[in-house]
C-alpha cells in the first residue's frame, strides 16, 4: 500500500512541478524564450498524467508496483536530515568540526559501532579532504578559528 502511495506521490509531484513551470512561462513576455520551456512543460505534464492514470489503473487491478529495495524511510530521513544539518553546521562551526562530527554521527546511525576505527578514520579523512581541497584546488571551505589554525600549521610545516 505504501509503495502504491509512493508511485501516486511521484506522479502527482511531477504534475505539480510541470504545472508550476508552465504557469511561470506565462509571466515571460518574449515568445522565443518561452517556446521550448512551454513545450517541455506540456509534455512532462501530459506524460505525468498518463503515469498517474496507469498507477491508478494498476491500483484498481491490484497490481503491486515494482519498487526497488533500499534504505528504510527512517534511515533515509535521518541520513538526509543529517546532510541538510551539515550544511549550516559547516557554515557556523567550520568545515573540520562539522565534517568530523557528521561522519561519526552518520556512520553510527548506519549501525557501525567500532569507535576505535571510526574516530581516527573520521579525523584522518576530514583532514585529508581538507588538505586536498585547500591546497590543490584552492577551495575556500567554510572556516572557523580551528580551520584557520590548522591551515596555518599545514602551510608552515607541511607545504613550506
Amino acid at each position: 500500500m505504501r509503495r502504491q502511495l509512493g508511485d501516486l506521490f511521484v506522479s502527482l509531484a511531477f504534475i505539480a512541478v510541470s504545472a508550476t513551470f508552465l504557469a511561470l512561462t506565462f509571466g515571460i513576455s518574449d515568445p522565443n524564450a518561452t517556446l521550448l520551456p512551454r513545450m517541455l512543460s506540456w509534455a512532462v505534464l501530459a506524460f505525468s498524467c498518463w503515469y498517474l492514470v496507469s498507477t491508478l489503473r494498476a491500483r484498481l487491478h491490484r497490481h503491486a508496483p515494482v519498487v526497488e529495495e533500499g534504505v528504510d524511510l527512517v534511515h533515509f530521513l535521518a541520513v538526509m536530515g543529517l546532510a541538510l544539518v551539515y550544511i549550516p553546521a559547516m557554515t557556523f562551526g567550520g568545515y573540520l568540526a562539522a565534517t568530523a562530527v557528521f561522519i561519526v554521527a552518520a556512520v553510527y546511525l548506519l549501525g557501525y559501532r567500532r569507535f576505535v576505527v571510526l574516530l581516527p578514520l573520521s579525523l584522518c579523512v576530514t583532514l585529508l579532504i581538507f588538505i586536498v581541497f585547500k591546497t590543490f584546488m584552492y577551495a575556500s571551505l567554510p572556516s572557523s578559528a580551528l580551520d584557520n589554525w590548522i591551515t596555518e600549521l599545514i602551510y608552515r610545516y607541511v607545504l613550506s
Binding site: N32, A33, L36, G70, V79, A106, G111
Partner: protein, 511 residues
C-alpha cells in the same frame, strides 16, 4: 594531419603527470567497480571537482580511466561473489560465478581481464580512427540538423527505461526543462529565476549530477550495510587452468563480434554498457556450436559479456566528442568535465583543441593497458575492497560529494542543490526512473533550445526548415523509427514476449 595530431597526443599522454592520472583513474575505477552498488557514473561525477586540481588533460584522462576501470572492476565481484559490481557486469555473473563454484575462478578472472582489455582496446582504436572523420562530417551540420539530431537522441531515452518507457520520457524531458532555467541561450531573457540573481546562469548542472549519482548510491550502500552486518564472503582465487594463446585464438572471432556490438551500442545515444552484454551474449549463443553450455560456466559467454561492455565505453565517447551528444549516462557526466574546463564537446573541439582530444584518445588506450596490468597483477588486492565497512564507504561518498560540489564555485547554493537533488534522485530511482535519462536530458535540453531558436530565426519562424534540410530530414525519420521501435520493444517486453535485454534494477536505474 592525423599523424601529426597522433604524435602530439602521444607526447602529451606519456608525460609522467598524465600517466600517473591514468594509473590513479584506472585503479580508482576498479575499486569503485568492485564494490557492488557503486557505478562508473557515480565515480566520474564524484571526481569531477578533482579535475580542477589536475588540469583538463590529466583530469580527462583520469576520468576515462575511471570509466574503463569501473566497467572492468564490476566483473571481479561478478565472478568471485556472484553479484555484479556495476550494471554492466550482470551478464558476467551467468558464466563467471558457475566457473568459480567449479573451482575455476583463476581462469574466469583472467578471461574477463583479457576480454575487457581486448574490447577496451578495440573500442579505443575505433574511437581514435572514426572520430576525426565523423567530426569533419559534423562540421557540415547546421542548427536544423543539430535540432533533429537531438530529437533523435531524445527518442532513445524511451529505450532506457525497460518496460516502463513513460518513466524515461518523463525524467528525460524533466532534465531538459531544468536545463532551461536561467537566461535563454539566444536572446538572453531570464526564465524561472524567481528573482534570484544566482539562478540567472541556471542550476549548476554539475552539482545536480554529483547529487543525483552519488547520494542515491551511498544510500543504497547504507541500506546494504544495515541489512548485512557481516563482511561479504569472497571465493578464493584457485584453479590450474590459465588463459593461453590457443584459448585466445579460439575466442578471437567471439571477441571481435562482441566488441563490434559493444562499439555500435556505445555510439547510439542513450544506450550504455549495461545493455550491450545482453545482446552480445545472445549473439555469441546463437553462433556457438554448444549453446546449451551458456549459463553453466562457459568461457564463450564470459568473453562476449566482457569484451562488449568495455568496447561500449570507447564507442560511447565517439558521439560525445564528435557531436557533443553523449552515448551513455557516464558519458553525459563526462560532458560536465569538459564544460568545467571551458571545452565544448563537438566538431569544433577537434579543430580548436586537437591536442586535448588526441591525448584523451591515447590516454584511453593507455588506461586499458594499465587495466590489464592491474587486473592480472593485483586481483587479490581488489577483492580486499569488498571487506571495507559499507557504512563508512557510504558516508564518505556523501561527504566527498558535498565538499566537491561546494569547492567548484565555493557556493553554498550548489551544496543545497546537491543534497536536494540526491534526495529526489533516490526517491525516483526507488520507483525505477532511469537517472541516466535525467543526465542526458540536462545535456541535450540547452543544445536543443539553442539550435531550435537559431533554426527558427534563420527560417523566419518557418518549421518547414526541418524537412527542407536533407540531414535534418534523415534524423527526423530516424527519430520516428527509433520511437516506434522502442515503443514496440517496451510493449513486447511488458507482455513477456521479449527476453533479450536488461531488466532495470536500481543500480542500472542510476546508470
Amino acid at each position: 594531419m592525423l599523424m601529426h595530431n597522433l604524435v602530439v597526443g602521444l607526447g602529451i599522454a606519456f608525460q609522467p603527470g598524465n600517466l600517473l592520472a591514468a594509473l590513479l583513474g584506472t585503479a580508482g575505477g576498479i575499486v569503485v567497480g568492485v564494490l557492488p552498488g557503486l557505478s562508473a557514473t557515480m565515480a566520474i561525477a564524484l571526481l569531477l571537482p578533482v579535475t580542477y586540481a589536475t588540469g583538463p588533460i590529466a583530469g580527462l584522462v583520469m576520468l576515462a580511466g575511471i570509466y574503463a576501470g569501473a566497467i572492468y572492476g564490476g566483473s571481479i565481484s561478478a565472478v568471485l561473489i556472484g553479484t555484479p559490481g556495476t550494471g554492466a557486469s550482470v551478464v558476467t555473473v551467468w558464466d563467471g560465478y558457475p566457473m568459480t563454484k567449479r573451482g575455476e575462478s583463476r581462469l574466469a578472472l583472467e578471461t574477463v581481464t583479457w576480454a575487457s582489455f581486448f574490447g577496451g582496446i578495440l573500442g579505443g582504436l575505433v574511437l581514435l580512427f572514426l572520430s576525426p572523420p565523423l567530426a569533419e562530417l559534423a562540421l557540415l551540420f547546421g542548427p536544423p540538423d543539430y535540432t533533429a539530431l537531438v530529437l533523435f537522441s531524445m527518442t532513445l531515452l524511451v529505450s532506457m527505461s525497460g518496460d516502463e518507457p513513460v518513466k524515461g520520457v518523463i525524467i528525460g524531458l524533466f532534465g531538459c526543462l531544468i536545463g532551461t532555467i536561467g537566461l535563454d541561450p539566444v536572446y538572453g531573457v531570464p526564465r524561472f529565476t524567481l528573482g534570484f540573481a544566482e539562478l540567472s546562469g541556471g542550476i549548476s548542472f554539475i552539482s545536480v549530477l554529483i547529487g543525483a549519482f552519488s547520494i542515491p548510491q551511498a544510500l543504497l550502500l547504507a541500506a546494504s550495510a544495515l541489512k548485512e552486518r557481516t563482511v561479504t564472503a569472497v571465493a578464493p582465487i584457485i584453479g590450474n587452468e590459465r588463459v593461453t594463446l590457443s584459448r585466445m585464438r579460439e575466442q578471437l572471432l567471439n571477441g571481435l563480434r562482441s566488441s563490434a556490438i559493444g562499439i555500435w551500442i556505445g555510439i547510439l545515444p542513450g544506450i550504455g554498457p549495461e545493455t550491450s552484454p545482453f545482446i552480445a551474449y545472445e549473439e555469441a549463443k546463437r553462433f556457438s556450436k554448444h549453446p546449451e553450455r551458456f549459463g553453466t560456466g562457459n568461457v564463450d559467454g564470459l568473453v562476449a559479456a566482457e569484451a562488449t561492455n568495455n568496447a561500449t565505453v570507447g564507442g560511447s565517447l565517439i558521439p560525445l566528442l564528435t557531436l557533443g551528444i553523449p552515448g551513455s549516462a557516464a558519458a553525459a557526466v563526462y560532458v560536465g568535465a569538459l564544460t568545467m574546463h571551458g571545452l565544448q564537446p563537438g566538431p569544433m573541439l577537434f579543430a580548436q583543441r586537437a591536442d586535448i582530444v588526441y591525448t584523451l584518445f591515447i590516454g584511453y588506450l593507455i588506461c586499458n593497458c594499465m587495466m590489464l596490468g592491474l587486473g592480472l597483477g593485483g586481483v587479490r588486492l581488489w577483492t580486499r575492497v569488498l571487506a571495507l565497512p559499507k557504512a563508512i564507504v557510504a558516508i564518505l561518498i556523501i561527504v566527498f560529494s558535498m565538499v566537491g560540489s561546494y569547492a567548484i564555485r565555493n557556493s553554498l547554493l550548489d551544496l543545497w542543490v546537491t543534497v536536494i537533488a540526491g534526495g529526489i534522485a533516490y526517491v525516483l530511482a526507488q520507483h525505477r526512473f532511469p537517472l541516466g535519462a535525467l543526465a542526458l536530458g540536462m545535456i541535450l535540453g540547452p543544445i536543443l533550445e539553442e539550435n531550435l531558436l537559431r533554426s527558427l530565426a534563420l527560417s523566419q519562424n518557418s518549421w518547414l526548415i526541418f524537412v527542407q534540410h536533407p540531414i535534418s530530414l534523415v534524423f527526423l525519420v530516424l527519430a520516428l523509427g527509433s520511437l516506434a521501435w522502442s515503443l514496440r520493444k517496451a510493449r513486447l517486453r511488458s507482455q513477456g514476449r521479449l527476453r533479450v535485454g536488461p531488466k532495470t534494477t536500481v543500480g542500472e536505474s542510476m546508470d
